[in-house]
């Protein structure tokens, strides 16, 4: 039996096994690898974003630190690390301290269930997809709490906006993923990828195109990215919910946002782009591609999604708040429901 098959709890409860210690060490090593790789990607995602948007706006982007500005993320990190940590006098100190940590924790814990390549996930649990949904819904706590605890109007408004936004788009996102769950017949991320590889088109992107559209829009809103970055709309709210944060605590929010973006990229790659596999017909045309390790395909797919995030940011202006709400409730949720119904009907008919 695969040791990561069920909940971690149940595994530890197996009596009298020395393997427990070995497996704890294996899990810890896996966590260290995943965190290390993701944190590196977060640092360079900022650089990539500035470069991409710079090019799209006919600028050079960061150029000063290192060749082509390659050391810019490290310089930014050092700057944020040594900045003074200011806490507003009337802030609720405890909540002010824990808000960024909650934000980061919610974003990071989703990484545990993502299969980066065949059977490599920190925890291969049966409810992987639900786990990610649960964790992404917790992300709003960090934002609301930071907005409330800083005792500032701008931060407070940002927090309120964000809580309403994340609540409404969470429904659309969960419903859009139901189509994938129905097609794969499982909530386990590994099983979803395996089911996709066996599917005639090799990816769920084509049969689930409506679901994918809903997912992409909802993912933009969930991670508070443009065009739905109302919680931090700088022209209205200065910087939104983290306006009172500085130094390391601000950096934690920043990291949480980018980790959230990478999670959404991973989720799109696993659920719609076939995870670590590539469609069989591509291998048939170009047979040498099957020697490329799966993790390369996975990362390429994630990079593509993250690039689309930047692309959208450089292209689309911010929506008004009522527009945001009506898109969520009147367009995305009915579309996602229709997608579920269509998927169900087709699945029954094909059977």
């Amino acid at each position: 039996m695969n040791i990561f098959e069920y909940s971690i709890f149940e595994y530890f409860l197996k009596p009298g096994s020395f393997d427990v210690l070995v497996n704890i060490i294996i899990i810890l090593v896996k966590i260290a690898i995943v965190l290390g790789v993701v944190m590196f990607h977060v640092a360079y995602a900022t650089y990539f974003e500035r470069k991409t948007i710079g090019r799209m706006q006919v600028r050079m982007g960061p150029m000063e630190v290192g060749p082509h500005g390659l050391l810019q993320p490290i310089a930014d990190m050092l700057k944020l690390f040594f900045k003074e940590d200011i806490i507003p006098e009337k802030a609720d100190k405890t909540i002010f301290y824990i808000a960024p940590i909650v934000s980061l924790m919610a974003a990071m814990s989703s990484l545990a269930v993502i299969p980066f390549y065949k059977d490599f996930a920190v925890a291969n649990i049966n409810i992987g997809l639900l786990f990610i949904l649960a964790m992404s819904s917790l992300g709003s706590y960090g934002i609301i709490l930071s907005g409330w605890s800083s005792d500032s109007k701008y931060a407070f408004l940002g927090g309120l906006r964000s809580s309403a936004q994340v609540l409404s788009y969470e429904i659309a996102m969960a419903l859009s993923l139901v189509g994938v769950m129905m097609m794969a017949g499982s909530l386990n991320m590994n099983e979803i990828v395996k089911a996709q590889a066996e599917y005639p088109t090799g990816l769920y992107l084509i049969p689930q195109i409506i679901g994918f559209f809903v997912f992409v829009v909802a993912a933009l809103a969930e991670t508070n990215r443009t065009p739905f970055d109302l919680p931090e709309a700088e022209s209205e709210l200065v910087a939104g919910y983290f306006v009172e944060y500085s130094g390391m605590r601000f950096a934690l929010f920043y990291v949480a946002e980018y980790v959230g973006m990478i999670i959404m990229g991973c989720l799109a790659a696993t659920c719609y782009f076939g995870g670590w596999t590539i469609p069989w017909y591509i291998i048939k045309i170009l047979p040498f591609l099957k020697y490329v390790p799966g993790v390369v395909w996975f990362t390429l797919k994630v990079y593509f999604v993250v690039f689309c995030y930047y692309w959208i940011r450089a292209t689309v202006p911010r929506y008004r708040y009522d527009q945001l709400m009506s898109i969520g409730w009147k367009l995305l949720i009915p579309l996602a429901l229709a997608n579920i119904a269509i998927t169900g009907i087709i699945k029954v008919m094909v059977k």
Partner: protein, 169 residues
């Protein structure tokens, strides 16, 4: 080992629920409640009910509690924190809850494990909990399930009607 973990969850749930009702700051209460929901989800995991654990977090922690927080943040907390935490009738409440506790403790004796149904733990583990739950819910218990959704629908309609009335006037 199971008993130790269960004991941890049970005791922590009790302590946290006390903290929820005794915190002076409502926002702190909500945060304690968040922690409480996580521990309840932990108990579901101990019972092999992974789907319930996940929905517990998604629905209660991710949606309902956020709405609570949303409402509480709109209160004037500086005024709220001056108000006495316990109403004057608390001795009566204590009496009633002690009575309920005694009834529950005497009722504990009546508990016994009955026959094992079609879905014992081994079967659920094989079919995965989500599938097992779905099968039972949509075949055997379809009617109660639909009735529950109807009740929720009525609640939603009621809220909409109440909100609309205010808009007109």
């Amino acid at each position: 080992m199971v008993e130790i973990i269960f004991g941890y969850f049970a005791i922590t749930i009790l302590i946290i629920s006390l903290l929820v009702v005794t915190s002076r700051n409502p926002v702190h209460s909500v945060l304690w409640m968040l922690l409480l929901f996580f521990h309840v989800a932990g108990i579901y995991l101990l019972l092999n009910a992974e789907f319930l654990a996940a929905t517990q977090i998604i629905v209660y922690a991710g949606a309902i509690l956020v709405l609570f927080l949303f409402t509480i943040m709109l209160l004037d907390l500086r005024e709220e924190m001056q108000i006495q935490r316990f109403t004057r009738g608390w001795p009566a409440g204590l009496l009633i809850s002690t009575g309920v506790l005694i009834v529950l403790i005497t009722g504990l004796k009546g508990f016994k494990t009955t026959f094992v149904g079609q879905w014992d733990i081994k079967e659920i583990e094989e079919a995965t909990h989500t599938k097992a739950l779905g099968k039972v819910l949509f075949t055997e218990y379809l009617l109660p399930f639909e009735i529950a959704s109807l009740v929720l629908l009525i609640a939603i309609l009621g809220a909409v009607v109440l909100a609309k009335k205010k808009l007109k006037t």
